[in-house]
Symmetry: C2
Subunit: 351 residues, 2 copies
């Protein structure tokens, strides 16, 4: 029996992992995308002490501290390591700056095959050793209370940033390269995939119990482009990390759910535009994660409880991991977020 | 027989109107969202002469000039009047500024019911008389060559701008108001709808042969919110203008296509994430419009022709109006755009 499997066995609360693997659960587990973030005043205090977002990401003690906050304060069923998907481009040789409120910016971008040749896919583990340290430290501090989720950006989403240099509504520059120079696009996507596999294997070795891939910009592709430029790289990464349960969350890519049904993952994350009934039909035997509209948490407790219970009823109690359909908005009241979480935890007793 | 009907009869090319109404056509009609825009050097020259985007919108002779350009240069099967969806908030008392490249900005936004009370839904026709003049002038200049499309923003999309004050990835402020103060949100949406109905009736009286509603931000809502905050207002507007064929284009709202199948419209516009086969299943008897991925036009002629023919084959030759799945990107070569249009016009002879 592997050490990893023993880790799972030793968790006091392993609802998340059982639900991901399709095993029977007493109640639906819940965690929240961006739970370790600006929604919590405690996060904002640590962030202020760190001085900058990037320092917070790179300092294992501080990253550990904000990772634990939602477990202690909100009572979620999983921690997710505090980090950023853009550490991979950085480790490959393309550093970024973070202007909080405005988002990330890359001073240099990839335009030619010479730019690509200057990137590196080796020694990723060494360059991102601070993430390994943060995971090991967090695992110690959690002391088996809940599982620890590791993550990475999907290659297409990282590709978008590396071409465009910043967030964008349409990512037209990135999609232009896909059409004008598909060979270069595929070579870059492949390099990102290699770096990501090394990175995720390191995360698993450092204690990550489950891995989630975030394809945040999937929605700008259509079905044909997705099958050419995103899905194969996601599948390559997922297949390389069979040690732990794997989740893929492709925001806006409702059209790819039927594809993910055949991907080497256990769970498919859903944004809030997708009806649970339709997702069940498309997703085959996979576990589903999501998908309350984050803006519901702007409402009062009664409306939050009502919408959360409706969501739970639509998904059913098995093969479901409750979450929002996207990251929690930073100006949501923590009390409202807690109302969402508590409603899920109390649901089996109230039905 | 009404004057409007006679207008349709007198058109030399009425493919668009016949396809919209589900009548038999010899070939698929084609026009392109943002065909009167920065993609054409001729547009950029007129825009430079105008001095500002808003002057261009407000000067009938100049608006007419750029409306005709794609008919003359690209050979599309319809003109669409050059204007902006934000003239409605402006006519209601909320002026905007346009920083080309960055998008629109409203110095004032709606926060309270007092802000709403200061808006007006009367005399819309008088305040937007320059649009009527542009339509009448364009109709004269077209001299029956092709139909002239009028348009407006869907209430939810205008609501987003009026609350948020500018474009946004998530429109969290607008969605916050929907949750915190649904009565105010509905009152504002209703006022926008009243103003829009008056505006569209004026467009039809001034010669618009078909009306399209653009719900550009529909994708930030989910199915339940869409049915509460967008669809009823769209349906109210569509029902008020039965004189001409009506198209609804809700970007990102794939989940609403089955709803639109029961809306008082003839045509449903599709963005490029939607497979034509699936749209046919969901859209019932409606005509479909779209939906090539605009980024395909970054490729070479061979790849543009291939993707365009595949699209035509998937939709079939009837009940389809060819278009891109969103506005053409400004940095596309006009030759590539013409390749898309010509491929559609030549298709029946090549099959």
């Amino acid at each position: 029996m592997s050490d990893v499997f023993l880790q799972h066995m030793n968790l006091q609360n392993n609802l998340l992992l059982r639900a991901a693997k399709g095993e029977q659960v007493e109640r639906t587990p819940v965690w929240v995308m961006r739970q370790a973030g600006r929604v919590l005043p405690e996060y904002r205090a640590t962030r202020a002490r760190a001085g900058s977002f990037i320092t917070l990401v790179r300092t294992p003690e501080l990253a550990c501290e904000v990772t634990l906050q939602p477990v202690d304060i909100l009572g979620v069923d999983a921690a997710i390591i505090f980090s950023d998907i853009l550490v991979i481009p950085e480790a490959m040789g393309l550093p970024y700056e973070m202007d909080e409120g405005k988002g990330p910016r890359f001073p240099n971008t990839i335009k030619t095959k010479e730019d690509l040749a200057r990137l590196s896919t080796t020694e990723i583990e060494g360059k991102l050793n601070y993430v390994a340290e943060a995971l090991i430290l967090t695992k110690q501090e959690l002391n088996g209370r809940v599982p620890l989720i590791g993550f990475a950006g999907a290659p297409f989403t990282l590709f978008c940033y590396m071409i465009e240099g910043q967030g964008s509504k349409e990512f037209a520059k990135a999609r232009r390269m896909m059409r004008e120079n598909p060979e270069l696009a595929h070579a870059l996507l492949s390099a990102i995939s290699d770096a990501t596999i090394a990175y995720l294997k390191m995360q698993i070795a450092s204690g990550a119990d489950l891995i989630q891939l975030f394809d945040s910009w999937a929605g700008v592709l259509g079905p044909d482009s997705y099958r050419e430029f995103s899905l194969p790289y996601i599948n390559r990464i997922l297949a390389a990390i069979p040690e732990v349960p794997r989740t893929v969350f492709a925001k806006g890519a409702w059209y790819a759910i039927e594809d993910f049904a055949n991907s080497p993952c256990e769970t498919i994350g859903l944004d809030w535009t997708i009806q649970p009934e339709l997702a069940r039909k498309w997703a085959g035997a996979k576990t589903l994660q999501g998908n309350l509209d984050p803006s519901v948490l702007y409402g009062d407790f009664a409306s939050i409880k009502k919408a959360t219970r409706e969501m739970l009823q639509k998904f059913g109690t098995q093969k479901h991991i409750a979450n929002l359909g996207h990251g929690v908005y930073p100006d949501i009241s923590p009390d409202n977020l807690k109302c969402f979480i508590d409603t899920i935890k109390e649901y089996p007793n109230e039905k």
